[in-house]
Symmetry: C2
Subunit: 407 residues, 2 copies
């Protein structure tokens, strides 16, 4: 037996992968060291969680479905790792986050790249980098209600592009793409032979009835993995129920992608079986008025917020059409005190106790994002304080921002 | 604008990672093409899910805790990604599987190796290979109630060893390590300066009161990630609630490992918040008699099964001391008809409609594993059929296996 040259000593380092796993929101927010103004109660418009204020409970049918699933004692055991769905093209996941993780993990190899919207949800980048996959950002155009700059998007595609992520309705923009625009997106993907990962977690959360079109039914050839979940529309983000729907009319994914997803799902198995057991009931028996109430509430806050901030000098809100967010441009020239949107929002906390996420979190400086699910009286108060803040810091003459924003 | 040389065409392949993610149990079981004997109803002793026969429901306190969490409407929102535990050293995960996944992902880089028991739970290898981490198998010794061959284990450690996985109580062995043995394991890890991943999902599921010792309290210096969950002891594997407890008395992990785990947890966020909300109640208010009943039931099946199979020619059952499994050696010399344990168990399906997992699934040929959570009358019937099967195929004189098995 050969003698080992190794001299053991302790030196445990966290893995490279854990170091590459990086949440930009955390990184930015954790460095924002503002303490709220002690004279004003804090209003957080920062977190994409519709449940935190307690004003938007889920529906009784939803909780009933859960309790029935528990009482049945039928959903305590392991489900298949892809979930107990009736349909072979549905993979149930632990939240839409895991849906996106699995979709990326099956489509992309280290060294490849994916196309991601800017501004866009930060998880795409977090997951891609942790997989060693490069991110290329394609532009959304605020003046066109955040439609994709399709030329720019197409110019980014190369041999190593594994997929295009399309997020509709959008976080952080609150935008909703028209059918026509979606068709053009598909045309790009088709020309370039690149599959699409459609993040439709805000599907159907739109202010105009019927304005949401799912991407997949519009595609005749481009294979699409659409990711969704219960989190937003059913107001239960903590329950971690998501899904991937595999759309592949022309059999371009073939069985390889489906098998890959099945294999990857075996690493941690699917979502909580109680929620799985309740899922059919939740999706099919939640009454329409529940969805309508949520949407009407968000829309009313959106109108209120948009209308107020439109008249604030130096701000350029972009009217949303769905989801639960509103993006506000900051005319930084008129706020010379502040270096950046991070600076701006930080000071809004310390002076007005209003917390909005700087859009640098979404790779989009000089904007901030407002979450629209807060109780309406807080929405009013928050907008009042944002106005006060801007009036105090605005420099450069009268409030002419209506022109500047080219509305 | 330069013209692209790229000629787009569709060629979508599943990623390397998805191909490396490989469940050996599925691979083996899916090739077992036996159809059960139509004259005998199937008895599956193959799946480590105590709920499938319906004879082991979870406790009323457990379901009550869940329903209270639902009714409170307090657990619909996002929890912190590591879960809403009071303690900074507890990370809640989506099942013990994700606990193991995160622990491996934070400790090991591609190209490193981990030490894994043989026979052992197949997920370790699945996860390691999907991360590009090599697996080295250390031997368990059936004659010593499946204690670790410590010399062998230590001989496998090298510069690239990221951690040692210790599974106690064991799947598939049903073995339970003594305090003394655990101390010796820790001594090896300490000498070699290698951290331990303790998989204690069957913690406290032991036949002799107090026989289970958690590994971490016995360590003065070796840093340990212990992984556990609700799956087995509370009989709710589908609920996907697991955890990592970080033990690091000498601050050898430092903050790096903790931070790495936090970062990795942000990829898909934690387990279902309803189960999180019920967790305290579940752990602290489930009555002792519930645990006792489960254990007594499993123990009684274990005795029954062990006693019966001990008298069957050609079989060498190893008496378990906990968990919910029993391993049975096959004296292959006396079954010349069969090439392997896979062959043997396959024929047991087609002739007797009894399905046991061949231990090749656990990298341990010539054994099969029996799951002990089936209703007792089925246990009796299954043992009867296994006996019949062996009597039919045993070759080589009288039943002298008592001697052969060195009991
Ligand atoms: C665009 C987008 N996609 C995915 C998610 C993740 O959803 P889940 O909570 O179901 O993981 C979010 C959550 O905020 C989101 O905004
Ligand atoms: C030894 C061992 N560890 C971990 C697990 C996974 O547990 P969970 O269902 O909580 O992911 C199992 C499941 O059978 C197991 O046997």
């Amino acid at each position: 037996e050969k003698i080992k040259s190794r001299k053991p000593r302790w030196s445990i380092r966290a893995s490279e992968m854990s170091k590459k796993t990086f949440n930009p929101i955390r990184a930015i927010v954790d460095t924002m060291k503002a303490t709220p103004n002690p004279n004003k109660p804090m209003i957080a418009l920062s977190i994409g969680d519709p449940t935190i204020f307690g004003n938007l409970p889920t529906d009784n049918e939803v909780t009933r479905a859960m309790k029935e699933a528990i009482d049945s004692q039928k959903y305590n055991g392991y489900a298949p790792s892809i979930g107990q769905s009736q349909h072979k093209d549905i993979i149930l996941t632990s939240g839409c986050s895991q849906a996106i993780e699995l979709a990326l993990a099956v489509l992309a190899n280290p060294g490849q790249n994916i196309l991601v919207p800017r501004p866009g949800f930060s998880l795409y980048k977090t997951l891609a980098l942790s997989l060693g996959v490069e991110v290329k950002l394609y532009n959304l155009i605020p003046e066109k209600s955040w439609e994709i700059d399709l030329k720019h998007m197409e110019s980014l595609v190369d041999d190593k592009t594994a997929c295009i992520i399309v997020n509709n309705p959008s976080n952080p923009c609150g935008s909703v793409f028209s059918k026509k625009h979606l068709q053009k997106i598909i045309a790009v993907a088709s020309r370039q032979c690149v599959p699409i990962l459609a993040d439709e977690i805000y599907g159907d959360m739109v202010f105009e009835y019927g304005a949401f079109k799912a991407l997949a039914p519009l595609s005749t050839n481009v294979p699409i993995l659409s990711c969704g979940g219960l989190a937003k529309r059913w107001l239960v983000p903590g329950w971690r129920m998501g899904w991937i729907l595999i759309h592949d009319r022309k059999d371009i994914f073939g069985k390889e992608i489906r098998e890959g997803l099945v294999r990857l799902s075996q690493r941690i198995l699917g979502p909580c079986t109680i929620v799985q057991g309740a899922l059919d009931h939740i999706i099919n028996r939640t009454p329409q008025h529940f969805y309508d109430n949520t949407i009407n509430f968000i829309k009313s806050n959106a109108d209120l917020c948009y209308n107020t901030l439109s008249t604030v000098p130096g701000l350029c809100p972009v009217r949303p059409a769905g989801a639960m967010y509103l993006m506000v441009g900051i005319d930084m020239e008129h706020f010379p005190e502040f270096e950046s949107d991070v600076d701006f929002t930080e000071r809004m906390i310390s002076e007005q106790s209003v917390f909005c996420l700087p859009a640098t979190c979404f790779e989009y400086p000089n904007y901030f994002r407002i979450v629209l699910t807060v109780p309406d009286e807080l929405m009013v108060e928050a907008c009042r304080r944002i106005r006060e803040f801007c009036l105090e810091h605005y420099q450069g003459g009268e409030a002419v921002q209506d022109l500047e924003c080219d509305k």
